[in-house]
């Protein structure tokens, strides 16, 4: 790139290019600042105030944060999402990777049909998929219960307090396996054939090729899906808010941190504390994403 710049020595031309670059960037930067940076700063600002019935709105410094870190409801929601992250994300991404590798190996009949069928749930709005699975889980005309009863098996209550988290994990898995699979599959398609052709001729198994050549080659794409999944997990909102009417006892108003922030802001009218919760949540996500990226990067360094 620097060589490229050096060639363009004529000053007016270079200045014109810089101006064009800024001109092209400007619209995005304006909206980006207004819709991302400003709300972020505003959220931080709001979170340092508290509103009380008697005293009105007062600056309270970090008191909302102290409250958040000792708020059992917030912490249990965070913990629940941690559980989600440990169980659902590896399951979902493992499934995505398996399907992507299987389709890429060229050993599956009707692979393009399978690829599309796997991807279709991504195009279904979260609201619809949650409602749909709610029906499938339910006792009234739930398909799962119908099938189990037809087989004379006990039908568990999939909306009970013990099962609801697993039921939500299933909805998210169903919805996003295809999306993550497509990202991985697209990356697999760009691996030059020569990289694994020799191994194939030497008789290496598909499993070995996948593990030693293909997975390392698409590490960046996998990393991308991990980061997106972490962000998605901690933002869960549709599932608790739409399944709650089906069993209010199993899903509290603070079931996920995002649902909690929403309820604080719009039901309790506690805007300042909601802002603090949202801010902590954002920081938490950024921190986890950063740690995950860092850990894979250092592992990569050790390997070489």
């Amino acid at each position: 790139m620097s060589a490229l710049v050096a060639r363009r020595t004529s000053h007016p031309l270079r200045r014109k290019q810089i101006a064009t670059a800024y001109l092209l960037l400007a619209p995005f930067i304006v909206v980006f600042s207004a819709m991302l940076i400003v709300p972020l700063v505003y959220s931080g600002f709001l979170s340092t105030f508290a509103t009380t019935l008697i005293g009105g709105t007062k600056f309270t410094g970090l008191a909302n944060y102290a409250r958040a870190f000792t708020d059992a409801e917030f912490l249990s929601g965070l913990g629940r999402m941690g559980l989600f992250l440990i169980i659902q994300v590896p399951l979902m991404l493992g499934l995505s990777l398996f399907i992507a590798l299987a389709l890429d190996s060229g050993r599956v009949r009707g692979s393009s049909a399978v690829r599309l069928m796997t991807f279709v749930p991504y195009a279904v709005p979260g609201v619809v998929s949650t409602m749909m699975w709610g029906y499938l889980y339910g006792n009234d005309f739930g398909l799962i219960g119908q099938i189990l009863r037809a087989l004379h098996l006990p039908a568990p209550n999939l909306l009970s307090s013990q099962n609801i988290l697993g039921s939500m994990m299933n909805i998210v898995t169903w919805q996003y396996v295809g999306y993550n699979m497509i990202i991985m599959f697209a990356a697999l398609r760009t691996i030059p054939v020569e990289l694994f052709e020799a191994a194939e001729i030497d008789g290496a198994s598909q499993l070995r090729i996948a593990w030693s050549i293909k997975i390392p080659a698409i590490r960046n794409a996998i990393m991308l899906t991990v980061i997106f999944s972490i962000i998605g997990t901690f933002q869960l909102f549709n599932e608790p808010s739409l399944l709650r009417p089906l069993n209010p006892a199993a899903i509290s108003s603070s079931y996920t941190p995002n649902f909690y922030a929403y309820n604080l802001a719009f039901i309790n009218q506690d805007i300042n504390y909601a802002a603090a919760i949202a801010f902590v949540l954002g920081l938490f996500i950024a921190l986890i994403s950063y740690v995950v990226q860092l850990s894979t990067r250092s592992r990569e360094g050790d390997g070489r």
Binding site: L24, V120, A187, T190
Partner: protein, 304 residues
């Protein structure tokens, strides 16, 4: 940033073809069966939705989920969907189309301009801007929704289409994808040639750049369109007038009315058929634009 190690989109199909001719290529029955079982998991809920929307409310409760009921009521259900509450569903559908089309066109244009500028020009602050945009991918958008709502509300902009559209114009991931795509698919020599011919920088972007960025643009367009079409949280907090709702918020409201048992307002059969209508446009769009988004994704997924 490492140098991109990806093949141009056209090479993706070529590679697939040469692979298919490989003598080592053998179909695996086990893998095929496994993958088709997985595909069934993704498809069955949608088949259920399709069949359920041909049933009237009574048949929903009395018949098996994966087979038709006593009466074929699809037409009646569709009529009910579009006539319930004074035909508000058609309004929701129209709103959703407006939100999705305007937001995705805007977001992809902004992303393309910014991505092109970041890929093709050397200017002061370039790497800083790109790092900030990359970092912001990790900011959970719903964590910003509450402060954004408060901002809009202080300007009196809530309950307005712009309240849904403007925040949806920001797609940091779109910028990232277009930057990678522009770096790969627009040769510097072509831009130099256009400059020698005396074309202005802006004209070069419109006539040379945009033409080569086609598949990348379609990818960003589709994915931002899905994001807006499926968005629930943002319109939920920004809008309180039913005639401004997108389908997601409207359907969720109908659903809660149906499960609250107020059968005069909404029936399960109406919500289910409404859900089916809501998901069809996106599925069709993905099917028809397959070639574009798959090649566009393969460019973006390779790098971090």
């Amino acid at each position: 940033m490492t140098t991109p190690v990806l093949a141009p989109p056209s090479a993706v199909t070529t590679k697939g073809a040469s692979k298919r001719r490989s003598p080592r290529d053998r179909r695996s029955t086990l893998l095929t069966v496994l993958l088709w079982i997985l595909a069934a998991y993704f498809l069955v809920p949608l088949v259920w939705l399709l069949i359920a929307s041909t049933k009237n409310n009574a048949d929903l409760f009395s018949s098996f989920g994966l087979w038709f009921g006593a009466r074929f009521s699809l037409i009646d259900n569709l009529r009910e969907v579009f006539s319930a509450s004074g035909g508000v569903y058609a309004r929701w559908l129209l709103n959703t189309v407006i939100y999705a089309v305007v937001s995705s066109l805007g977001a992809s244009l902004l992303s393309t301009m910014a991505g092109y500028a970041l890929a093709k020009y050397e200017f002061p602050g370039r790497s800083a801007v790109f790092s900030i945009i990359l970092g912001s991918i990790m900011i959970p958008l719903t964590a910003l929704a509450i402060p954004t709502y408060l901002m809009f509300s202080s300007f009196g902009l809530t309950n307005n289409m712009l309240a849904v559209i403007i925040p949806s114009l920001v797609s940091p991931f779109g910028v990232y994808l277009m930057r990678v795509y522009a770096a790969e698919s627009i040769p510097d020599s072509l831009l130099e040639a256009a400059r020698v011919d005396g074309a202005g920088e802006i004209r070069i972007f419109w006539q040379v750049g945009l033409r080569l960025l086609g598949p990348g643009l379609v990818t960003v367009l589709l994915f931002t369109m899905v994001a807006t079409w499926n968005n629930y949280f943002l319109p939920l907090i920004m809008l309180s007038k039913s005639e401004l709702y997108p389908l997601t918020v409207g359907l969720a409201q109908q659903q809660s009315a149906a499960s609250a048992g107020s059968a005069t307002q909404a029936l399960f059969s109406t919500v289910i058929t409404g859900s089916l209508v809501a998901i069809l446009p996106l599925i069709v769009a993905f099917l028809f634009l397959q070639r574009y988004w798959q090649s566009g994704l393969s460019a973006g997924s390779v790098k971090e």
